[in-house]
């Protein structure tokens, strides 16, 4: 049965079974994956030259974990991402509830303004934050960790929470408002309805939004580059300074760790609230 199905000529719209399409797909996959896979593979290569395979080693991972600057930068990145995620989810949930529930004057204006952080070029936002945190609200750099990370955290929240709002709003669209009405008829207050009926429904959106905000923050280079100082280096900023010098197995090892971390987090987010995360990531507005 199977063999027969395989031998039949492809149907008119079965493009995936035609060789030019298959070849094109294979070529694209190679183009997208070969650089990343070689990068990850050569982080285990026992040779400085990074081009010929000389055997398996974990020494570059040991070197990475022994590099205190890199570990500090990684700690900073995780701290920034955690705080930024918490605040972004709260603000994003409020935004989503606002736009989902209410009709009010100038709603389109607000929707447009909330869409801005998604469309404004990163470089413009980066320099705006640089100027803001040096000229208008000079952020003290000598205060204790983690408060010296404040400027970076604030910038990250500003570009993350609109993305979170899109994800949560997408989830809310499937909410059955009769549940809310029923709860109110049964005497629940506004707060109880929110906490016991709406929040449980929002939960997958909240988690997916949180993971999205976390990866956005962890991945950001350009905006952080403009807001970080000598004592507030993040992981991508540190990797950037390493990359500028040369291609080395240590950078490969550090990159591999970050790739695995973000891919895992995004995969979880996608499982929870796939379509909305994809929508937010491709910038399809609120």
């Amino acid at each position: 049965m199977r063999a027969a199905a395989r031998k039949s000529p492809p149907g008119p719209l079965e493009y995936l079974r035609r060789w030019p399409i298959q070849a094109w797909l294979a070529f694209t996959a190679f183009y997208l994956y070969a650089p990343l896979i070689t990068l990850m593979a050569f982080s285990f290569n026992d040779s400085k030259r990074n081009i010929v395979w000389r055997g398996f080693t974990l020494k570059y991972y040991q070197a990475t974990f022994a590099d205190t600057d890199l570990i500090t930068a990684f700690g900073n990145s995780l701290t920034i991402a955690a705080v930024s995620t918490l605040v972004s989810v709260i603000l994003g949930a409020m935004t989503a509830l606002l736009l989902w529930r209410f009709r009010f004057p100038a709603k389109t204006v607000l929707e447009g303004a909330l869409g801005l952080p998604i469309v404004v070029p990163e470089i413009c936002m980066g320099v705006a934050m640089l100027v803001f945190f040096t000229q208008v609200v000079p952020w003290p750099t000598e205060i204790a960790w983690p408060f010296n990370l404040g400027a970076i955290i604030i910038s990250h929240i500003s570009f993350s929470f609109s993305f979170v709002a899109i994800v949560i709003r997408g989830r809310l669209a499937s909410f059955n408002r009769e549940l809310e009405e029923a709860a109110k008829d049964l005497g629940a207050s506004e707060w109880r309805v929110f906490w016991d009926v709406i929040v449980p429904h929002m939960r997958p959106g909240l988690i997916a939004g949180a993971l999205l905000a976390f990866t956005l923050s962890l991945d950001d280079f350009v905006i952080t580059f403009f807001t970080s100082g000598p004592d507030t280096i993040t992981f991508p900023v540190k990797v950037y300074s390493m990359v500028r010098f040369s291609v080395t197995p240590e950078v490969n090892a550090a990159s591999t760790i970050l790739i695995v971390l973000t891919v895992a987090l995004t995969a979880i987010a996608l499982r929870l609230q796939g379509a909305d995360v994809a929508r937010a990531e491709t910038g399809e507005g609120l």
Partner: protein
Amino acid sequence: MDESWRDAKGVFAVVLGPPAVWLTAFFLVPLAIIWAYSFGENTSLTQIGVTGTFANYAHAVRPLYLGIIWKSLWFAAATTVLCLIAAFPVAIAITFAREKTKVWLLLLIMLPFWTNLLIRTYALMAVLRDEGYINFALGFAWGGVSHVTGALGYPLGTFVPLELLHNNFAVIFGLVYVQLPFMVLPLYAALDRLDRSLLEASLDLGAGHFTTFARVVTPLAMPGIVSGVLITFIPTVGAYLTPDLLGGPSSQMIANVIENQFKTANDWPFGAALSFLLMYMTFVAMAVQGMVARRRGATR
């Protein structure tokens, strides 16, 4: 769904307040300051006076900077066209795959897109540099060919690595690499919504696959194509990292000049003017997208 804000003023104020305040204080105000600076000038080493001058914009349209803006637009256009060519067959393959295969193919396209931009760019440096994988493979092939021709009496001489990194080619190669998934997803979304019976009718009535795609699919999928083109084009114009790491001195794009004005040259008003020129270009591109979407909606 819509409830008037008057019916629950308390709740409305609670959910409106924090996001609106945050957005204003930590996003709109910083941008407004940059906008104001673009009409200012350096009055001392650390002071900038907003004098309402247009000198920074006049500065930005001088041939040197106009050339860089032009180059940014040109790079973005080339990247968009290459992405469109590369992505269309991929989107077709995904659209007409079986449900289960579809999920895996989408994942295949999305996965590299989740890895850090910096790391993806770094991965390309390892591929393209003089002692990178491409030159290594070419050198290996050169050695083999040289061996054969040497036996025939015509040795080829030593292999000179191709200069693949730090030039315009590397920048466009990198931008296509980074932006490709952005193009595939909207194209797929548009193709997936098409009425398949139209394609079948076209094929039944004797049109070939190319004719069907050129004359039936493309017009119907135009909103998706336009949105894919803009989603690719807009971030590419303002790309910073790719030209910075893969480009050479002559392949700097507008974002690199902006960074330079703020971090090295210390001419903030001029950098601010360039930033806002980039923002205006973004807004024009988005307005075009909105217009196309509206016209499509009107003709349906």
